[in-house]
Symmetry: C2
Subunit: 259 residues, 2 copies
């Protein structure tokens, strides 16, 4: 069994913390990690604040994930400060990156509304020293990547269409190349049982099927008689399909015994 590669996401933006915007970006990315057998270990949502980004990035790098993705804060305005925060965390200077500058330039020369390469536009091509830009096919700010020890750090913009385009073009190939085992999974609904009554049978199933992961999600109320539990069983073992089916059958037998 191949060990899963690990990842973390840092999502930057006051709008996520004041309750204006729901962080759907992280959720969208999370599905791809699961699909390609990577293990997303943590999502951290931070303010548009240099000390917060510096501290959050340092913390994530200390845990040495194989991939660290930051989302948001790459745009032209003053409150877009992710790359400044990342540069602080890496103890690197920010420098105008020629490849990134060419990308930004090409983008604006195609724009009628262009009013020259102002410092606000140069800002989008100013990256931590040693970083490389990732093409943004649908917007102006390129993504950014840099290796930090064994961690690949990737910074993506927060506008969902741009984040998705860069992720699809530059990150998915990386996930695919280092593909882990996508989890085998079964999800069943159990009607008329409450979670605390399910717990003993679940405990026995866990002991009988080591390596499988059982998680129950109550969908009804424990405070009422009728109840619905979504039971999710999964494994990253490559040969676990039959084992999963056996575990479900075992669990249903155990439950019918106690009923």
């Amino acid at each position: 069994m191949k060990k899963s590669l690990t990842a973390e996401i840092i999502s930057v933006g006051n709008e996520l913390l004041i309750g204006h915007t729901l962080d759907t970006n992280s959720h969208w990315i999370a599905k791809y990690f699961t699909k390609f057998g990577w293990a997303l270990q943590r999502i951290t949502v931070l303010r548009d604040s240099l000390p917060a980004i510096n501290d959050g990035a340092r913390g994530a790098l200390r845990r040495k994930p194989d991939l660290l993705i930051t989302i948001g804060g790459l745009g032209p305005t003053h409150d877009d400060m992710t790359l400044r925060g990342v540069a602080l965390a890496l103890d690197k200077r920010l420098v105008l990156n020629p490849a990134a500058f060419a990308m930004v330039k090409a983008r604006y020369s195609a724009l009628e509304a262009s009013t020259g390469l102002t410092r606000f536009r140069r800002k989008m091509a100013t990256l931590p020293e040693g970083a490389q830009p990732l093409p943004n096919p649908v917007g102006t700010a390129p993504g950014v990547t840099i290796n930090v020890g064994t961690t690949r750090l990737v910074s993506l913009p927060g506008v969902p269409s741009e984040m998705r385009a860069i992720f699809t073009g530059s990150v998915i190939p990386m996930l695919r190349a280092s593909k882990g085992q996508a989890p085998e999974e079964v999800s069943i609904g159990l009607v008329g049982i409450i979670e605390s009554a399910l717990a003993p049978a679940l405990d026995r199933a866990r002991k009988a099927f080591p390596g499988l992961y059982f998680k129950s999600h109550p969908r009804g109320r424990e405070g009422g008689i009728r109840s619905l539990i979504q039971l999710h069983v999964y494994s990253v073992d490559p040969d676990s399909r039959a084992k999963l089916d056996n575990a479900i059958a075992y669990l249903l037998r155990e439950l019918s015994k106690s009923a």
Copy 2:
């Protein structure tokens, strides 16, 4: 001007990290912090793993927020391990709490489906030493609160209806009692301008109106001529209403100059 009280949220659950479930709980709570003038500084999403919860809780407590809320992992099953993780982070033992046990007991005695106070149900009344239960009017697992230095730690269940009921009953009164200044805010849509062209005017407005917070969210594309920017201006100053209106007027004048 009253200083904002600070908060952090730790949201626990593999389902949030494998892309199965979107973390709407944190978003729901975030709105209340804003409403009552509290500053939510960070959201951390963690796996159902003791080392992860221990590490995440220790990290949050080191930053000394006034309030730390954990969501998820209070139920009866083995994968509900938030209180074990919190106890580790606090270097406290887990003990059966009589008040919590009475709450769980009362809940199950009202249940026809009750099959006794199994160890799985006792688990829901087993809290870090020194903690107190918070009544759960719609489910069985009580919320939990404990003071750690200047931080009030509150643990809520992950089932949204239960989380909301305990938050409304036990946390909102606390937010209200230590109410900060809710931010004054104005949000306007700017049509036909791209973000990098807005940036110089925004920069001048920031200098002219210190204390106001400007954030632009591109909703259209920089790669096209027509573009929509949502501009959000806010302040926690109590007397900022007129200032906000002036700032918007100033910004529109600056933009019409450069057009």
